[in-house]
């Protein structure tokens, strides 16, 4: 079982936050989900290799030829905020109403 403090820790790792009102309901459902997952703990998997992908090929190399890539203009098309052709972000340090 996962407790509420752990759930808050996972939220910080996932870069998510929950308001106090939504947290209790979310935590309850999340605990239900984890309970379902605990079914797996009883399965004997000693010596079983994990499967993490189904790719059928090994590393391959393409010919080293020049390719036309997307232009800067295109790449900037969906940027939420830009200035002088650069992506604008708030300062990394807290600026408290001064951005």
């Amino acid at each position: 079982m996962i407790d509420k403090e752990q759930i808050k820790h996972v939220a910080s790792l996932a870069k998510l936050e929950f308001s106090d009102e939504e947290f209790d309901e979310f935590a309850e459902k999340f605990q239900e989900t984890i309970k379902m997952e605990d079914m797996l703990t009883h399965i004997d998997t000693k010596g079983v290799e994990p499967t993490t992908n189904l790719s059928t090929r090994t590393t391959t190399f393409r010919e080293d030829v020049a390719q036309k890539e997307q232009s800067r203009e295109l790449l900037m098309k969906n940027v939420p905020e830009e200035k002088d052709g650069l992506i604008k972000v708030p300062s990394i340090l807290d600026t408290e109403g001064d951005n």
């Binding site: 936050e17 979310f26 379902m36 797996l40 992908n53 940027v79 600026t95």
Partner: protein, 487 residues
């Protein structure tokens, strides 16, 4: 133009004979969508201007008589990137996102002359089994508007069922093509993992995701599959296997084919009336000269919890890119960069997506990795071995696609674990990367039931063949949904 009566082949003949122009076909398609979709809400975005322009150009140039898809209108699930056409993945996060390039499957469809009429509603980031997690409203099941169309490709299935379009693309990570196909009484095909490029498909779970097809008729799906298949330099997981012409190779000869029916597919938790419909369907295969045997796949009961760990873990990694910096939604009222990440993701993602990101982050986090992620990856191996063992002796695994028929809108959305159980019969094919289809087999209380046909990896043709054979025996496509109910 509604698409209840024609197949792609018939439309192609009409276009070749100039009984109808591509422009007329496209125009009447939009007229019908605008009328019908008020009830269904299958579409998020219509591609009217570009589609009409493409139709005119094709009429001037003349359609390609050797290509079944030339001039045929299709529609696309909204997690497949379409150049210059909004692509939302059903999420607020991508409400204003306009891709600057096409997914490989779109390039291929365009090259074959297919015309994209619009983008289809879906569960947010393909996470859901009812299309209720969409930011763009519920999709309604054409057989009963009070019921869900399934998910996550709910719009893709409902649009075909309602006669809005003849074929659509969906994606299938744990059953997201086959389950809505079953709920809507249409055909749904999930190719072998690696058959179709995932380039330009908004990633959910990269080791499970595969683009699939929904259509009324099997041959129509075969035509679309022939178009979108093939190795792609841009997707390392696309397989180096030959692409046959799935239409020309179609065969309905089931003589001597061996079909395995897992007792787990016909056991506890599966609606009794559905089992009856499936037994009748299996009898049809027997009449066609196939043999049916019951097998046991005990590890399959672990498929749902295994899937939710693996898919959510991959999603928690794949969806890290949604940070509010380069594209998509960005929260306002932020004080620093960390705020941009946290507030953007907390306001931009819906509840189900957050639950999966949390589950995946938890399963990959220090101290829990071995007990959850690694454990699930090991159980996946056990499930895949079980399936491989069956395919050493049998050509097909068959059974129901879903444990129940479509349920009422709102009935399960507050209970995630019950909702997840919808996918218990479809997940195994994704785990093993094998091709699988759902074909309508009948109805229970007026709602469609799907027969699931699973084949050997890269023998997609065999799954199409069995589907084609069964389609001719049962002709479910002659049924039309009622479009009744409150909306």
């Amino acid at each position: 133009m509604d698409y209840f009566t024609h197949s792609i082949e018939e439309l192609h003949t009409m276009l070749v004979n100039k009984d109808i122009t591509v422009e007329q076909l496209v125009t009447t398609t939009f007229d019908n969508i605008e009328n019908t979709d008020k009830k269904i809400n299958a579409f998020i975005t219509l591609n009217k201007e570009a589609a009409t322009k493409a139709a005119k150009e094709l009429d001037e140039k003349g359609i390609d008589e050797d290509n079944l898809l030339s001039g045929i209108p299709v529609a696309i699930k909204d997690n497949i990137l379409t150049k210059e056409l909004k692509t939302t993945a059903g999420s607020k996060m991508l409400e204003n996102f306009v891709p600057v390039y096409d997914a490989t499957v779109m390039e291929k469809l365009h090259n074959d002359g297919a015309i994209n009429v619009g983008k289809l509603n879906m569960d947010e980031f393909a996470m859901g089994s009812s299309s209720e997690t969409s930011h763009y409203g519920n999709v309604h099941n054409p057989w009963d508007l009070n019921k869900v169309p399934g998910g996550s490709s709910g719009g893709s299935a409902a649009a075909v069922a309602a006669g809005e379009v003849i074929a659509t693309l969906g994606t299938d990570t744990g059953g997201s093509v086959r389950q809505p196909a079953a709920f809507n009484g249409v055909y749904g095909f999930k190719p072998s993992y690696g058959r179709v490029s995932r380039w330009g498909v908004i990633a959910f779970s990269s080791s499970l995701d595969q683009v699939g097809i929904l259509s009324k008729r099997v041959k129509d799906a075969a035509a679309v599959l022939t178009s979108i298949s093939g190795e792609d330099d841009k997707d390392y997981t696309s397989a180096q296997v030959e692409v046959p012409n799935f239409v020309k190779e179609l065969s309905s000869d089931m003589t001597g084919k061996k079909i395995a029916v897992p007792s787990e597919f016909m056991g506890e938790g599966i609606n009794e009336d559905i089992k009856e419909v499936i037994k009748n369907a299996l009898n049809e295969f027997e009449k066609m000269g196939a043999t049916i045997e019951t097998v046991s796949l005990p590890d399959i009961k672990n498929a749902v919890p295994t899937y939710f760990i693996l898919a959510s873990s991959e999603a928690s990694s794949n969806l890290q890119r949604f940070d509010g910096i380069r594209y998509g939604f960005r929260a306002s009222d932020v004080k620093n960069l960390e705020d941009v990440f946290v507030k953007t993701r907390s306001e931009g993602f819906g509840e189900e997506v957050k639950r999966r990101l949390m589950l995946g982050t938890f399963a990959l986090s220090a101290g829990y990795y071995d007990a959850y992620f690694k454990k699930a990856a090991q159980v996946r191996t056990l499930i895949n071995q079980e399936i491989a063992n069956v395919f050493e002796k049998y050509d097909y695994i068959m059974g129901p696609t879903t444990p129940t028929t479509a349920f009422n809108i709102g009935a399960k959305i507050d209970d995630p674990v019950t909702m997840y159980m919808n996918d218990m019969l479809t997940i195994p094919a994704n785990m093993a990367g094998v091709p699988a289809a759902s074909i309508p087999a009948g109805t229970v209380d007026g709602m469609p039931v799907g027969l699931q046909i699973i084949g050997q990896r890269f023998n997609d043709q065999s799954v199409l063949d069995a589907s084609y054979a069964y389609e001719q025996a049962n002709k479910f496509y002659e049924n039309k949904p009622s479009m009744k109910g409150d909306n």
